[in-house]
């Protein structure tokens, strides 16, 4: 693992603006601005945001169960890392440049697509995701051999933003003691307005040369388009139109940067993955 890159990835933050649209006698409070680490989750941030809004005098106390979050008028998935949310939206033109604007709404009922995630269930989902990643990497050998306390510790490092704690844990997961290569790389590719794409991607090409992240992304997208292509539809042409552009024009965004296409996949897996052990790549149009 590369300490410098991991540290920089860990330290990278995004500006976030929370606005409360609750109505009420005093009108909406001033927005809440904060810098959030990319690895954190909205599920973890929401209580702090709400308590900030609730400090307001004479306002109704806003309960977490009663709100839903929207970005750009669409519900937000609270269980994916905020960095990924940011990267997904940033490729569109955000309302305020570079700022993730999240609307906290109290209107009932909540949209069906929205799922409120508590801190507890977030912890469970996080652990499951780490397990899934490990299942891809080692058939869950590492996670099953981990101590009972290890997984909560990894989660606590995320909650407390404690890199040193994280570094100790993540090394166990990324650099297994037996030194075996990963079977597959936990990689999720986000194309706009589509569910994430994922496939069994090995570290190396069949000829033994290292697979680059560009190769891996292209292959995943290829698999998707081929499955789509078997059922040609009106909208598939629309998607294909976006993907018809030369694969080399696609920008691979992660952690707010263009990841060089020739980055070896294994390097990305070890150093560019989020704490949930997945590498989240957002596909953006070429500028």
């Amino acid at each position: 693992m590369d300490y410098e890159v991991s540290r920089k990835v860990w330290d990278s933050q995004i500006p976030v603006q929370f606005t409360l649209q609750a109505g009420g006698p005093l009108g909406d409070p001033l927005p809440y601005y904060t810098m959030l680490p990319r690895f954190t989750y909205l599920a973890l941030t929401l209580p702090k945001v709400l308590s900030s809004f609730n400090r307001r005098e004479n306002g109704e106390t806003i309960l977490a169960e009663k709100v839903h979050l929207e970005v750009n008028g669409a519900p937000v998935k609270m269980y994916i890392p905020v960095g990924v949310i940011y990267d997904q939206l940033n490729q569109k033109n955000l309302e305020s440049e570079g700022i993730l604007e999240i609307h906290v709404r109290t209107s009932q009922p909540a949209p069906l697509d929205f799922q409120m995630v508590s801190v507890d269930s977030m912890r469970a989902m996080f652990c499951q995701t780490v397990k899934e990643a490990d299942y891809l990497k080692t058939k869950a050998e590492v996670t099953s051999s981990l101590m009972k306390e290890d997984m909560p510790q990894l989660w606590q490092s995320v909650v407390n933003n404690n890199f040193d704690e994280y570094w100790g844990m993540i090394q166990k997961l990324m650099d297994p003691k037996d030194g075996k290569d990963f079977l597959h790389v936990p990689l999720r590719v986000y194309v706009k307005n589509q569910p994430f794409k994922q496939a069994l991607i090995t570290v190396k090409h069949p000829d033994g040369s290292l697979r680059t992240i560009g190769d891996a992304v292209s292959e995943i997208l290829q698999l998707s388009t081929s499955s789509e292509a078997s059922t040609p539809t009106s909208e598939s042409s629309a998607t294909s139109s976006s993907e018809a552009s030369s694969p080399d024009d696609r920008r691979l965004i992660s952690h707010g940067i263009d990841v060089p296409r020739h980055t070896p996949l294994i390097f990305a897996a070890k150093n560019l993955s989020y704490p949930d052990n997945f590498v989240h790549i957002v596909i953006a149009e070429a500028r």
Binding site: K131, E132, D134, L200, S234
Partner: protein, 104 residues
């Protein structure tokens, strides 16, 4: 707009899902389901809740290979590609379900 279009696609790819109960979870009469590839696990959860007559307060956990619970917005296309059990040429996604948390 596009997502709406994709959901209403006329002939989407179908994927067979095999369900198995663990722990105290009730046994399903119909253990095999066929879902669209573009469906997410979240939509299956809703269907399953209805099938198992679970209330809003009951929990439902789905596991793959008795190891991990996949992300709820994973599509079956992804699940099939990554975790499908290939038996008789057809891809089957085997899921375990439980009403109590299992496998950490």
């Amino acid at each position: 707009m596009e997502s709406v279009a994709s959901e209403s696609a006329p002939k989407p790819k179908k994927i067979t899902v095999k369900l198995k109960n663990i722990g105290d979870a009730p046994v399903l009469k119909n253990k095999k389901l066929v879902v669209k590839a573009s469906d997410t696990l979240a939509s299956l959860t809703k269907v399953l809740r209805k099938m198992l007559n679970l209330t809003l307060h009951d929990s439902l956990f789905l596991y793959i290979d008795t190891t991990f619970a996949p992300s709820l917005d994973s599509t079956f296309e992804v699940l099939a590609r990554c975790y499908a059990v290939k038996t008789t040429g057809d891809e089957v996604v085997e899921l375990q379900y439980s009403t109590t948390p299992a496998y950490g």
